[in-house]
C-alpha cells in the first residue's frame, strides 16, 4: 500500500507541472510587481531603482486621491447599502413557502453573466434619451430628475455602484440563504413558541445566528470593492474627467496610456496593502464574534 502511494516519480509528475505554472504566472508576477514598484520604468529601457519615489508621487497625486476616494465610496456602498438589502431579501426569500427555488435561481443569474456584457446592457439602461431609467422618469412626469447618468460627473460613480449591486446582490443572497437554512429547526420553533415571529424572529433569532456568514459577505464585498476594475473600465473608462476613476483603472491607465510601469506597479502594491489593512481592521473589529454554537 505504502509503496504504491510513495512512488516519488508519480508524485513529481503530479505536482510539478501545476506548481510550475502556478509559480511562473502567479507568484513570480507578484514578486515582480513589488520589484517594479520601486523603479522608474517605461517598459522599454532598463528600469532604474528610485526607492519610494512612486509612493511619494501617489501621495501627492490629486487624481490618485480621487480614485482612492471612489474605492472608499465603493466600500461604503457595499457595507451600508448592499448588505442591508442582502439581509432583507435573504430573510424574505427564506420564508417563502412557494417559488423558493425560482427566486433563488433568478437572483443568482446576474452573477454568472460576464461583467463586460452587464456593462454594455446597463449603458442601454442609462442612455440619456432611449435609456430605461430616463424613460421611466418621464413616464411619471419627473422630467427634471432625468440625467445623462454616465456622462455627468455627479452621477457616474453612483450609476456604476448600482450596476455593480445589480450584478452581485443575488450572489450574496444565495450565500446567506444557505446559512439561514442551516439553522436547526428546533431553534426556529423554540423562538416562535416564545412569540418571535415575522420581523421579530428575524431580529432576535435569524440575524444573530447568521452573523458569521454576514461577516464573510462583508469581507468579500469589501475586498471586491477594492479590486473593482472591469465594470468601471467598460462603463465609463473612469470618466467623465476622472470622476469615476478607481485605483485599479488608474493603475491601468498609468501603465498603458502613460507607459509609467513603475508608478503603475506602485499603485498595484498600494491596492494590495489597503486590502490587507482593511481585512486586518475588519478581523480586529469582529474578533469577538466567534462561530455561533447552536
Amino acid at each position: 500500500m505504502n509503496k504504491v502511494l510513495r512512488n516519488p516519480y508519480a508524485y513529481v509528475l503530479f505536482v510539478v507541472p501545476a506548481m510550475a505554472l502556478y509559480l511562473t504566472f502567479y507568484i513570480v508576477p507578484m514578486l515582480n510587481s513589488l520589484k517594479y514598484a520601486v523603479t522608474s520604468w517605461n517598459g522599454i529601457n532598463e528600469a532604474t531603482f528610485n526607492g519610494l519615489d512612486n509612493f511619494v508621487k501617489a501621495f501627492h497625486d490629486e487624481k490618485f486621491w480621487i480614485a482612492f476616494k471612489n474605492n472608499i465610496y465603493f466600500v461604503l456602498f457595499s457595507v451600508f447599502v448592499q448588505i442591508p438589502v442582502i439581509i432583507f431579501f435573504s430573510i424574505l426569500i427564506s420564508g417563502a413557502k412557494r417559488f423558493l427555488g425560482f427566486y433563488k435561481t433568478t437572483v443568482f443569474l446576474p452573477s454568472v453573466l460576464s461583467t463586460a456584457i452587464i456593462g454594455v446592457i446597463w449603458q442601454f439602461i442609462y442612455h440619456p434619451d432611449a435609456g430605461l431609467v430616463n424613460q421611466l422618469l418621464r413616464m411619471f412626469g419627473l422630467e427634471s430628475w432625468t440625467h445623462g447618468w454616465l456622462g455627468e460627473e455627479g452621477y457616474s460613480m453612483l450609476a456604476i455602484l448600482v450596476t455593480n449591486g445589480w450584478q452581485w446582490t443575488g450572489f450574496y443572497i444565495v450565500l446567506v440563504l444557505a446559512a439561514i437554512f442551516a439553522i436547526p429547526k428546533e431553534m426556529q420553533e423554540a423562538g416562535e413558541m416564545d412569540g418571535a415571529i415575522g420581523w421579530r424572529k428575524a431580529r432576535y433569532i435569524t440575524i444573530p445566528l447568521i452573523r458569521p456568514v454576514i461577516l464573510v459577505v462583508m469581507m468579500l464585498s469589501i475586498t471586491g470593492a477594492m479590486k473593482a476594475l472591469d465594470i468601471v473600465f467598460i462603463m465609463t473608462k473612469g470618466g467623465p474627467f476622472g470622476s469615476s476613476e478607481v485605483m485599479a483603472t488608474y493603475m491601468y491607465k498609468q501603465a498603458y496610456s502613460m507607459s509609467l510601469f513603475g508608478y503603475a506597479n506602485a499603485i498595484s502594491v498600494i491596492i494590495f496593502l489597503f486590502t490587507v489593512v482593511l481585512t486586518v481592521i475588519f478581523h480586529f473589529l469582529t474578533r469577538r464574534t466567534e462561530e455561533v454554537d447552536y
Binding site: M1, Y22, F25, N32, T115
Partner: protein
C-alpha cells in the same frame, strides 16, 4: 393577517425579480427590432419577428469567429486546468509525502491574498517576453494558471473524504498509483469534476480584462472584448449591438438554467472557502 403578509412577501420579491429580469428581456426584445424601433418604441414588442440583427452579427460583424475563439480558449484552458489540478490535488491529499504536500498546499493558499487583476502589468510584460503576446496562448496559459488554486481547494476537500480502504483494495488487486487515480478516484470525483469544469469554463468565457489586454489583433478577440468594442464603435447601431450581447449571454444563461444546482453549490463552496 398571515395570508396578507404572505402575499406582500411575494409582491416585494416579484418586484426584485423584475429589476433583475427586465434589463435582460429588454435587450432580448430589442435584438429583434430595427434601430428606429428601438429608439421610438423602446417598450413595444417588435413590429415583426425578424432575425436580421442576428444574421448581421454573424455576417458583417464576424460574431461567429469570436464565438469560436471564446469556445476554443475557454475549453483548452479549462481542460488543462482540470488535469493539472486533479493530479496535484490527488498527490497532496492521498500520497504519502506529508511534508512536501503541506508546503505545496500552503503555497497555493498564497493566491488568496492577491487578485489576478493586480498582476496585470507584470503578467503583460512576461507574456510579451515569452513571445506569446497576441496568440491564443496569451490567454490559455494565464487562465489555466489562475484556475489551479481554487480547483485544487475544491478537489482536495472532496478527495479527503474518500475512504482509504478503497485504495487499499485497489493495491491488493495490483493497481499502480495511476491505476488508482484512473479507475477508483476519478469515477468517484466525477460530480465534483463536472462542477469545477463548469465554474472554470464560465469564468474563462466571461473574462474581459486580460482578453482585452493580451490580444491586439481583431481576429483573435473573444466575445466579451468583441461586444465591448462593438459598443464603442457602433454606439448608435442598437440592433446589431443587442444581438451580439444576446449571442454572448445566451449560452451562459442556458447552461446556468440547466445546471443551476451544481453551479450555485459550487460557487458557494468555492467562495466561502476563500
Amino acid at each position: 393577517m398571515r395570508k396578507a403578509t404572505g402575499i406582500l412577501r411575494h409582491v416585494i420579491l416579484l418586484g426584485y425579480l423584475a429589476i433583475i429580469l427586465y434589463p435582460l428581456l429588454f435587450i432580448f426584445n430589442s435584438s429583434f427590432k430595427n434601430n428606429s424601433e428601438v429608439v421610438l418604441h423602446p417598450w413595444a414588442l417588435p413590429e415583426k419577428f425578424q432575425m436580421g440583427n442576428y444574421i448581421d452579427a454573424f455576417g458583417n460583424s464576424h460574431i461567429g469567429k469570436y464565438f469560436m475563439n471564446s469556445l476554443y480558449i475557454s475549453t483548452i484552458a479549462t481542460v488543462a486546468g482540470i488535469i493539472l489540478a486533479t493530479a496535484i490535488a490527488y498527490a497532496i491529499t492521498r500520497m504519502r509525502f506529508p511534508r512536501i504536500s503541506k508546503l505545496v498546499y500552503g503555497g497555493l493558499l498564497l493566491s488568496l491574498l492577491i487578485s489576478p487583476a493586480s498582476l496585470l502589468i507584470p503578467l503583460y510584460i512576461m507574456i510579451r517576453s515569452l513571445g506569446i503576446y497576441n496568440t491564443p496562448f496569451a490567454l490559455i496559459v494565464p487562465y489555466t494558471a489562475f484556475s489551479i488554486p481554487i480547483s485544487v481547494f475544491v478537489m482536495a476537500a472532496f478527495l479527503k473524504s474518500i475512504p482509504r480502504e478503497l485504495e487499499e483494495a485497489g493495491v491488493m488487486d495490483g493497481l499502480s498509483v495511476f491505476g488508482l487515480l484512473g479507475r477508483i478516484i476519478m469515477p468517484l470525483t466525477l460530480p465534483t469534476l463536472v462542477t469545477v469544469f463548469i465554474l472554470n469554463f464560465m469564468g474563462h468565457w466571461n473574462e474581459f480584462i486580460m482578453a482585452n489586454l493580451f490580444l491586439s489583433s481583431q481576429d483573435l478577440r473573444t466575445l466579451p472584448v468583441a461586444v465591448v468594442a462593438f459598443m464603442d464603435k457602433f454606439q448608435m447601431n442598437y440592433g446589431a449591438l443587442t444581438a451580439s450581447v444576446m449571442i454572448s449571454a445566451l449560452p451562459v444563461i442556458i447552461v446556468y438554467t440547466v445546471l443551476q444546482k451544481q453551479i450555485i453549490q459550487g460557487v458557494a463552496a468555492g467562495s466561502v472557502k476563500g
